[in-house]
Structures are given as C-alpha cells and as structure tokens.
C-alpha cells in the first residue's frame, strides 16, 4: 500500500504542483505541496522514508523547475529528516501542532532555498525574500496542512500507529 502511495506521489507530484498549486496561488505565492507531504510522511513513517521521499521530491522539483539542480534536493531531504524526527519524538499530534510544525518547516525550507539561490544564481535580496516569499509561503503551507490534517486526522493517526506496530482500539 505504501509503495502504491509513493508511486502515485512520484508520478503525480509534478503535474499537481505545477497545475493545481499554481491555480490556487495567492498574490503570486503558491503553496509547496512537497513540504506538506514530507511533514505527513515523516510523521507517519519516520526519518528514513522522509529522507528518501524528500530527496526524490526535491530532485523532481529541481528537474522541472527553471532553477539549478540542488536547492530543492537539499532542502527537501532535510525537511523529510526533520519531519521524521518530529514524528518519532512526539506522541500526540493535533491541528495546532500541525499548523506550527509546518510553519516552522516551511520557514526552514525557505531559508535553505534562499541560501542555495543566493549561492548559485543570486538576484534575491534577503529581507525582500523573507517578506514577499518565505513568510507568506510558510503561512499558506501551514494553513493548508492544518486543513488537510483536520480532514484526514483519523487515517493519519491509524497509519502512524500501524507503522509503529500498534492499532487504534
């Protein structure tokens, strides 16, 4: 089942991010489905899956983006790893926790992306990037992830317990 989900992510991530996420962009800022997905995957399946899927999603994003190879590969791998650590460390997860965690993860992702973009291509000023891209994207990602959690909380908790060898009573 997990493999099917991963294959679906692999094939449909780029079209969904490119077509669906751009169509719901606000003021030119689109949510990053990669960060949201990696948070839930890390939460459910832990660090190894987070790192693996993070590197795949990051690589795909770099291939199908106008930017250089590396920015998403590195940042998404790290986000997958941190999400896995969060999932392993914490027992109770709720919508507010999801909101805060994804906001933090998205901020981290934005800062890492800025670092890479500055190192490789340049062109972006730090405070303007924080104001116009990093913070708005983090808000958007966090709200979307919290909404997704509210809609699927039972399935997420069941999958989380199953991956740890437990079950919902």
């Amino acid at each position: 089942m997990k493999l099917i989900w991963y294959l679906l992510i692999l094939f449909f991530f780029v079209p969904v991010q490119s077509l669906l996420m751009t169509s719901i962009s606000l003021n030119g800022i689109q949510p990053d489905l990669g960060v949201i997905l990696l948070f839930f995957i890390g939460l459910i399946y832990g660090e190894m899956d987070g790192i693996l899927l993070g590197s795949i999603i990051g690589f795909l994003m770099d291939l199908f983006s106008g930017g250089p190879l590396g920015a998403n590969l590195v940042s998404k791998t790290l986000i997958g790893w941190v999400s896995g650590m969060i999932g392993r460390t914490l027992l109770n997860v709720n919508a507010f926790f999801t909101l805060g965690s994804v906001f933090g993860l998205s901020l981290l992702h934005g800062l890492l992306s800025f670092l890479f973009v500055s190192l490789i291509t340049g062109g972006w000023a730090f405070w303007a990037s924080v104001r116009w891209v990093i913070v708005p994207e983090a808000f958007y990602d966090a709200v979307l992830a919290a909404m997704l959690y509210l809609l699927t909380s039972r399935s997420i908790e069941a999958a989380r317990l199953k991956s740890q060898g437990l079950s919902l009573s």
Binding site: S18, N72, G123, V133
Partner: protein, 272 residues
Amino acid sequence: MFRSLVNYRHLIVLVLFTTLIIFLLSPELQHRPLLIVERPAGYLVIFFQRGLSAVAEGISHGWSHYIALSRVYEQNQRMGTVIEQLKIENTQLRETVIANDRLTELLGFKQGSPFRMTAAEVIGRDLSNWYRTIMINKGEKDGLSSDMGVVTPSGVVGRIVKTAATYSHVLLLVDPNSAVAALIQRSREEGIVAGTEKGLAQMKYLSTIADVEVGDLVLTSGLAGSFPKGLPIGKVSRAEKKETDLTQQVEIIPAVDFSRLEEVLVITSIPF
C-alpha cells in the same frame, strides 16, 4: 562500536545524502543536470502532466454538467440537457473564436516580423516560488536552445533557460535573475530591465539625471543577443530620484500579462 553506528544510522544516511548532493552540485552537472535521468523522467512526468491536464478539464466540464442537471425537474430533463449541451457548445464556440483571434494575432505578428519565430504552448508554471518560469511544449527537437528570446504580440515574455527534447523552461521578465537590455522610447535613455521579489519589473542603471517620466514606453534596445530592437517591454509606473542614490528607481508595468499566457513565440534567429 557497531551498536553506536546503528543508533546514528539516520544521521549517517543524511550525511551520505548530503555528500551525494554536493557531488551533484558540480558545475558540469549544473550545466546539464543528469541527462541520463532527466530524459526518461521528463518523458514520464510530462506524459502524466498532459494526462492530468486533460482529466482536470474533463472533470470540470462533467461537474458543471451534473450540478446543472440535479436542479432540473424530471419532466424537463431532456429539455434541460439540450439547453446545457447548447450552452457548452456555445462556450466552446466562443472559446474557439477567442482562440482563433489570439492565434490570428500571433500568426500576423509572426508573419509581419523580420525574424524567425516558433510558436509554442504554455504547459506549466514553475514548481517553486523562487523562480518565475513557465514550461512550453517545444524543445531541442524543434530547434530551441538556451538564451532564445520569448515574446507575444503584446511584448517581451522572457528567455529560455533550460531545454529538454520536447519542452523548455522560460525565465519570465519579472524574475529577479532576468535581465533585458532596454531603452526609454521618448528620451532614448538606456538601462537593464529586471524583475523584483514582489513579481514586478524595474529598470536599473538609469542615472539620476536621466530623463524618465511616468507613462514612458520601455522597449528592447537590441544590445544583448536574445531580442531584436524595438519590442515593447512595458510602461514606467513610478520613477523615484533620491539625492543619496547614484541611480533612479524606475518601476515598470510589463506589457504582457504573465498570469494569462497561453501561447508564445520563440525567436529562433535575429537578422543582423
């Protein structure tokens, strides 16, 4: 020893990944990122992207049809269906007329231009907020290569930054990394047009004594290779002179609406 390694296995995997990533960042791979993986991955994902785009369009049509039908009384169902079908046909016909107008304008612009151009369709937008690019359905097979200029009859869109066999990425004029040599039509003052973090465009390197007014038309100067001289870029919306600065801050409203791009023309050769 072994147990402590097992305890740190996640960290070890992460370090190995990071090392691999640093290897991937070599200038050679940046120039042509992993051709072996890019080609097949590109074909697969583009296949799904085109499929999903068609499915999304189908679902959108089906959904509106269902909503309309559910509100119609049973005895009027057939009539309602006919009306809905006629409405859809009408919408499709209008869409065809609009597309026809758009394509006629594009064709007229292409035929009237002294340089060679290839028409392409926009099939996607950038996946992240860090690069303002669009994906077009023409690539190396169609004779496209990096640095070629992309335009519409309204004006400059951007230039190609990445190409694959069947698709290309176009860096839009409003990206902070974009740079187009430009001049003010009225005063002939020259500068460089680049994007801003806010998603707007600005004209750089205009001295404080340069003659710039709000409403001035900005055109390509033809000094850099991608664009011929005289293509519209936009209009000056704000020009600010500060005593402490060496240059003016000139904001431009682009001539092209980047959120509504559907077809573009790639300039494949410019006569000198």
